[in-house]
Structures are given as structure tokens and as C-alpha cells.
Symmetry: C2
């Protein structure tokens, strides 16, 4: 069509209120919210967006990438602000750009970065509750780091894939898998660190850590990051030896890996093309 453009958006959302990215019959989805907003902004009744990663229910995004085609006349540099004017505030467009006609947010994605937060402390601060899995018991982070290292590289990840995704090859490459330890007090939107003289907030209850996993790969199977987290948690709790993870990987048997960690600790951080 004459004048049709392909646009790429970088989108951030809090997944708490959504049944996932993908449009559902009877539940709110990020896709439906974006497409409704795009219909308003472009004047076209049916704009279909494609996402780099179809995040599950409760999963967040810092830098999800979506693409769509439009014959609408709105200038590209006004698309972001126009969408943010009509989107719910838990979905924000961070960037909008015109890309080549053949661009496809999913097929063209070369690398994705996901993060998963574990709240390792006695109490989950209310401000972090939607973004962390509470893991209060003692965790051997060194063992989790060693176990995770065996997943880096090009492997058949059948053991770390739940049923229900697309029927694709189970071979994926993980470029890096890193843990960092962020003090709880440093991860809050308000800061006891600035509390000053005789700081009366007992340090104990906020003295825990956010253990943040960053995984970068060329693509991820259904629930793959969450099964990795669930399995590394078994290692951290001493229920699995670190070296067992390499054995589970090579065995390709999902039933040997750990449980699927819940979605709300997970975030799609960025996508590279």
C-alpha cells in the first residue's frame, strides 16, 4: 500500500494486571491495550502488533520491542507521546522509530536479555512485592553461580522447557548468565540510605538482598528462564548439587529439572537486532 510504514516501538510495562502479552479472549493483555491505542492514534481500526517476546501472565518488560505496519499519517516522532496519551499508565512507549518494511520484531530479534529477581530476606517490602519472588530460606549463591555456568553456551534445552510453546528446535545459545546481589534498601523507590542521623529504621528487616539473575541468549523456549530459576533455586537450597545441572541439561528430561518459578519475578529487559 502506498505510504505504508513499518514502525518499531520500545515498550515497558508492569505485567501485574495482564494475562500476558498475547491477546486473550476474556482477559486483559498488553497486545490488546497496544492495538486499541494504535487504532485511536493511527485512525486504522485493525493494527496488529508483533512482539519480540510473548511474555506470560505477570511478567514485566523494561524494553519489549513490537513492530506493526500502518498507513496512518501520524509523524513517527509523535507516535510515542500520542500512544502514551491513551495507553493505561502501566504500559509506556519509550521509543518509536520507522524501520525497513521487512522488519519483524520477533523474527529479526538476535538477542534478548531477561532478568529474574529473588527477594532473599525475611520480609518483602511492599514496593518490591510485584517484582520479586520471595526466597527467604538460606541460599548458597556460590553454588547457584557455579550451576548456572554450566548452562552457558549452545545446548539442547529440552530439560528447561515447559509444554505449551511453539514447536521449535530446543537448541538455544545462552551468551551469559550472571547473578548480582543488590541490597534491598538500594532497590527501593524511597531511600532509608538517605535517612541520616540515628536512622531509626531497623537495619535488620531491610538488610536482605535482591538476587538478580541476568540471562542473555539468542532466544528462549517456553518458560525457559523460569525453569532455570526454579532449578538454580533447588541448588541454592541444597536440594541439588551444582554439578547436577549439567547432567539435567544433557539428559533433556524436563521432569529432572526444578519447578517453574512464578512469572512476577521475571522481566524482559531488552532485545537486540
Amino acid at each position: 500500500m502506498a505510504g505504508e510504514r513499518t514502525l518499531r516501538l520500545v515498550v515497558s510495562y508492569d505485567g501485574t494486571g495482564y494475562a500476558g502479552f498475547q491477546r486473550q479472549k476474556d482477559a486483559p493483555s498488553v497486545q490488546a491495550a497496544l492495538e486499541t491505542a494504535l487504532a485511536t492514534v493511527t485512525g486504522e481500526p485493525r493494527v496488529r502488533v508483533v512482539a519480540a517476546g510473548r511474555t506470560d501472565a505477570g511478567v514485566h518488560a523494561l524494553g519489549q520491542v513490537v513492530s506493526f505496519r500502518t498507513a496512518g499519517s501520524i509523524p513517527t516522532d509523535r507516535v510515542g507521546a500520542a500512544l502514551n496519551g491513551v495507553l493505561p499508565p502501566d504500559i509506556r512507549v519509550l521509543d518509536a522509530a520507522e524501520v525497513d518494511q521487512g522488519f519483524h520484531a520477533r523474527y529479526r530479534a538476535r538477542r534478548k536479555v531477561y532478568q529474574y529477581n529473588l527477594l532473599h530476606g525475611p520480609v518483602v517490602p511492599p514496593f518490591l512485592r510485584p517484582y520479586c519472588l520471595h526466597a527467604p530460606a538460606r541460599l548458597d549463591l556460590d553454588a547457584m553461580v557455579r550451576a548456572g555456568a554450566s548452562l552457558v553456551g549452545r545446548h539442547d534445552f529440552s530439560a528447561f522447557r515447559d509444554a505449551g510453546g511453539r514447536p521449535t528446535s530446543p537448541v538455544r545459545t545462552i551468551y551469559r548468565l550472571e547473578w548480582e546481589r543488590v541490597p534491598v534498601a538500594g532497590a527501593l523507590p524511597f531511600g532509608p540510605g538517605a535517612g541520616g542521623r540515628g536512622d531509626p529504621v531497623a537495619p535488620g528487616p531491610l538488610a536482605g538482598d535482591v538476587l538478580r539473575l541476568t540471562v542473555e541468549g539468542d532466544g528462549f523456549l517456553h518458560h525457559m528462564v523460569r525453569v532455570i530459576v526454579g532449578t538454580l533455586l533447588e541448588v541454592g537450597r541444597g536440594r541439588l548439587e551444582p554439578q547436577a545441572v549439567a547432567v539435567i541439561l544433557s539428559g533433556r528430561d524436563r521432569s529432572r529439572a526444578g519447578p517453574t518459578a512464578p512469572g512476577h519475578g521475571l522481566c524482559l529487559v531488552s532485545v537486540a537486532y
Copy 2:
């Protein structure tokens, strides 16, 4: 009463879902949630709690302090976990301690620390939306710092008080009033900073700052921090000269100060006794 104890709790809450601390007839309050949980935990039908600061609708707390008396037999060191087992997850008890019988969370408070977050950037990331006021226009932070300095000390703060609070003396002491600049990317529960190679999240949209005001005083009048923020914002936007704030203070006329900033950017960080 024989065996009656006075207990002090440190409580954190996300104020988004509450009409404020204080019990209301037809709206959820933090007080009602705490008292309901205490009734369950102590076995006493009517436990009344007193808070150091009665935060308004939408206002958050990192280290609110409440006190109550109980004749219940639950050991003090189990009160926190027991309450967290029955409280909604947006209210968490961080600490519980037995204190002298005459302790009163409000009357005994000597200093309080509040913080207020301004999101100074083009887009409010969904994760910070409940905890920041969006202030996208250019702000002269230096002017705001200079204006704020004139409020430090012992003053009649009638110009920075809204009607509706307790009829108390308008004289208060502000010990410190400080601004800090926290990069938006560093204030998020997930980290583009860990994004690594060829970080594909456009830096621009997340390149803003959280401008965080910390105010410590011996007590605060009704809406006092919020009127201070609203007034300093007028300075930051160039609508008021920095030196005008000292004049407004000495004039004691509320109508000369700025508007009351919304509650959701505010947090009671800590209370000292």
C-alpha cells in the same frame, strides 16, 4: 491490667490502595487493616493502634511506627511474622518490640523523615508510576535547592499548611532539606545497567532522573511536605524566584505558597524517638 504490654511496630506500606492511614467509614485504611490483623493475632477483638504520622491517601511508608497495648499472650518476637501472615501484602511489619507502658508512637516521636520523588524525564516507567510525581518540564534544581534552604530551621510554617489537620501550633523545626538526583535507570526494580553488549534499550527515554527530596523535622503540619514540594516546583519551573520562598514563609499566608503536590510521590521514611 495484669500482663498488659505496649508494643511498637515498624510498618512499611504501599499507600496506593488506601484512603490513608486513618480509619475511614467507607474506604480501606492502613489502620483498619492493622487492627483487623491484630485482632486475629492477639485474640482481642478491639486493639487500637496509634501511628507516628497519619499519612494521607496514596502516601507510602517505609518506616511508619505504630504502638498499641495488648493483654494477648503472643510472644513479642513472633508478632511480626504472625501479622505478616494475615496482613495484605502491601502492608508489611518490619519490626516488633516491647516498649515501656507509657510509649505513644505519635507523642513520643522526636523526628520524622519524609521523602518526595519527582520523575524528571519524558516518560514515567511503569514501575515508578505509583511512587513519583511526573515533572517533565525543565526544572532548575539549583534554584530549588537554594529556595529550600530558606525553610531549614525553626519557623512558623502557616504558609505551608493546608486546612483540615489538628489545630496545633504552626511552629516546627526542619533539620534538613536535601535534594538528590537518582538516575531513572538506577531506581528501577530491573536493571538496564546490567544489559551488557550493545544495550538495545534506547538510553534517551530512561535517561531522566528521580529528583528525591528528603526532609527531616520535629513534626509536620497538615500537607506541609506536599506544599513545600508544590512551592519548590514553582521555583524550579521559573514561576517563583528562589528568594521568594523566604518571603512566603515569613508572610504566613497559605495562598502565597504553591499548590499541594499529590500524595503518591510522598513517603514517611522513618521516625526517631
